[in-house]
Symmetry: D2
Subunit: 318 residues, 4 copies
């Protein structure tokens, strides 16, 4: 359950303050010359994001490539990579070891596993999304060769500077558009393109909503308003409008695939909060340390990465 994808598959591993974070990409086509500069630039997008909202952890994020490559060219065998965890200030978390932080995964991990890595959020840390950026960057490179591009942006976000002052955090929405996808991708029943996208996006921490095309707004429309009229545009059949977000009956129709992802505010806030500890005793917690005010700026590249992986997977499945 740490694997995403059917043919182009990413298996991730790592805890925030463990030895390393990494992944294994299985099913990547062979003979692809990797653009390492591009991969690094994508990691940089995740890391720096907007300095006004990002946490201060120094992540050098130097990828070590472990397998699957010969002179930078993919062999078709598993591509394993990792980034060592450095600058791990475990002591910051020592105090929180026995406290269930509100809306964090401490409690649920304990319930599931009977144990959890309390150091820096462990497996539930946002840091564990790093391998997604790497796999996404490779997927984007594959798509680029097919004329497919992916671009996401933050379309809604709370007031970060105000939140920072108050020791609070904010949420927001990322919108993403995949351009150039051929018609006919996706499966019609349980592997709808929309379902695969939804599944992938909900893998990101803090995601609580997902919609395709006009999404929730479609619930208020009439059929005559929501339907996308087919037209013949220079000999190619396409739709005049795109309320469907490029997906009909679960399968791509050749139009832009448009979707939005809603992120809740990061639960790590400096403001004191009431909670209980492992013994079930009430206590107060104020989460100090380097934490983002908002996950959104970092999330943009993650949304794109997952969208790229889902698209490549659907193309290889075809």
């Amino acid at each position: 359950m740490n694997t995403l994808g059917h043919i182009f598959r990413l298996t991730t591993f790592g805890e925030s303050h463990g030895t390393a974070i990494g992944g294994v990409i299985d099913g990547c086509p062979s003979q692809l010359k990797l653009d390492f500069d591009f991969i690094d630039s994508e990691l940089l997008r995740r890391k720096t994001a907007q300095s006004s909202t990002a946490s201060q952890r120094k992540e050098t994020d130097q990828i070590e490539w472990l397998s699957g490559l010969l002179d930078g060219v993919t062999l078709g065998t598993p591509i394993a990579f990792m980034v060592r965890n450095e600058d791990c200030k475990t002591e910051d978390y020592e105090a929180l070891k026995d406290v269930y932080r509100p809306s964090h995964a401490d409690f649920t991990y304990e319930q599931k596993y009977g144990i959890h890595d309390w150091r820096g959020g462990g497996r539930a840390s946002a840091r564990t999304t790093l391998p997604i950026v790497v796999a996404g960057a490779i997927a984007k490179q594959i798509l680029k060769g097919k004329g497919i591009t992916i671009a996401a942006e933050v379309t809604a976000m709370g007031d970060t500077e105000q939140a920072r002052k108050e020791g609070d955090t904010v949420g927001g929405i990322v919108e993403c558009c995949i351009t150039g996808v051929p018609a006919g991708l996706g499966e019609p029943m349980f592997g709808k393109f929309s379902a695969e996208l939804a599944h992938a996006m909900f893998s990101l921490p803090a995601v609580k909503g997902f919609e395709v095309g006009d999404g929730f707004a479609l619930a208020k429309m009439k059929g005559s308003e929501a339907n996308d009229t087919f037209i013949n545009k220079d000999g190619k059949i396409t739709t005049l409008t795109n309320h469907s977000g490029g997906i009909q009956g679960g399968i791509t129709n050749g139009n832009d695939i448009v979707f939005r992802v809603a992120f809740k505010p990061i639960p790590s806030i400096a403001k004191p909060q009431q909670t209980v500890n492992r013994a079930g005793e009430p206590c107060q917690v104020a989460i100090e340390g380097r934490h983002d005010v908002c996950a959104l700026p970092r999330a943009v590249v993650l949304v794109e990465a997952l969208a790229a992986m889902v698209t490549v997977d659907a193309m290889l499945l075809r």
Copy 2:
């Protein structure tokens, strides 16, 4: 890709106007005495729904059980079942054979398969969701034995009587609540309980949005507003509020699981619409015949069924 689930798995088959619609449930626990009356009553909920909105096709929906049972008790082997398609007025669809109905799957199926069953929507027909109700009814029975209940309702819907008069259709929202789920279900990375729910719900025709807990509304909140405070209630740790919808870090926290699903209006409208045919020529289409004005009433039992299947699957995976 016509299979849903990891351990409790449903494979469905059938086209609207083919010989039969059905499914195979693999991984159902043995020694369960099936409550056939309950299954029939669930099918009835899907069929009749609200008479004001439902289409007039006479579906007797008589299930024929093909395997996996001995005297009505599950054997642990695959449970296959089917419902014959009757009252198939193929001639209704003859005229639409070569027309791409707006926002239907005609065009995308053609692009994917090079062929599609134009009779009554074929595989893309809402009728193909029938096996989901059957599998969901069995899943509910398993959950009932564990004290878990599932209830969905329509919380938003357009004005159906007005739409019917205008030859139009409306969309809406279904909200669902799963009560009694133990903490610790779901996987933390790519198989989050929320991701599995999202994936399942997007399998339903016309679904364009999904949110858990406060969903998109969380994007506008501050962390201090969105966080769910842990409390000790009679010796059991739970949360005071439930903005998270019962899922934190992808894993259930023991609280009610609450989510909403947005359905677009049914694309089959009687109003004349502009479109193109298979030759790419512009034409008009007015979709006559027995069609629902709104899918929502029927969708309630489907949302519940999928929620039940996802929950059983997560319990068996544990």
Copy 3:
């Protein structure tokens, strides 16, 4: 676990004396015009086999096609089919209801499921292999279009006439050859072509051994004897010998794929045998009724069918 294959997937269902036996084929390419006569002729090969060894159950084996076809052409959607169980003399088995027949699955099913269908062997009956023949016949049709042929034969078998007289049964070996497979199929690590074949063949009842190429005989050879020399034959690289059976490093090399499957004797013998009943009490059992003396003649078409399915799956995975 009642599904075989990755892309071309067969899910089977049915017990020997239940309502029906059948299957769902998912992932079959669209636009294939099925040759129903060929499918029937394959079923006939399984049914009649050699009259000297086959049981006397009258199986009309009339396939009912339930979905996935339009005018006999595949739609790309799941192809479901079934054969009703008729001529079920349940009373023959009534006496055996509480007896663990030696080397049968009665005991192990009981241990696994806490229940089992004692009527005619239930799910463990050889009759449940029927859907494999159907799926195999479709797979063969796909392969035929690619110039790939599959032929199996019995290469070793006990003396059936003698065994029949003695109320005994015999085992044997089936050898199979797949001709025309392109080089490059199969996966190098855990999905080796040989591993997929082995996995498929061990799905058949009574299979206890499997070997590829020279198989067990290779264990006694020296490397210089076992190695297959590469040669250039009219511009195409192939091997002079074929000790490897067409597979090297788990991947096909373009040469004939040759393998053998060992079947134990059918455990249902008329000779009285000592055993215990469900209460653990010693008892004697003499299995009367219509039973094969040898499974081998029927097994030939099954081995071919599974080989065809594995080959098609590997081609679609590529």
Copy 4:
């Protein structure tokens, strides 16, 4: 396709002369205190094997644990580990870069991927089995807690000292016995315990045959000889004989699981051999360097490891 298992899953990565060899174990139960000394001792069994037959490559095989552990205790999250490749004499292989070594995977990898890592056998090197030993050692630890033990031994092997003198290699047979497995493990149709074992064993390089219980010898027996009589032994139902090798109808019966694996001779021989190069030109090759005379001694721990993994997986699936 570099993943083995359903719940207890091992994904491996690495080429012989790449940066590292390693694996990710997903689905390992949490709260297991790993016995690192045992894991190291298992790796030592693979490495040193019998000095008379083993190659001379110095493999320090120092495992670096990357994730999934807290103070040596499993977290339930993916356990990633790796071993760096050292002492890589790539120049040894430079001369063989363009030559298809007989019965090696050079040619088939080229056909599949259009590229292959010629350095030391790349992904096809026996070195890539190292992660199997690690995962197997962890699986054995889980089984030990359940009273299940696994022991394999070489039961047939060619004359290694003679072969070494002649620049040749030999094959052989490994027999393995799993003791203490409860009745009821395995799936009855396509995931038979025997099928899962066969699939796993064929993942090892050079495996060409597999048999369970009396295996191929059963093909020559009569039913009355092959059947295992059930007996009541001190209140527990078991079988008097074990021709079935502990598996009936694909499911374990509580008796010892016994199977044999046939290995062909290692294809790397010092004796000059005729072959062709990538251009299709005939040439001679004599494979110098440090190569095993026989894979069997090393294979014993690998067979045990895979058997342990399959058994744990079946237990977790139950």
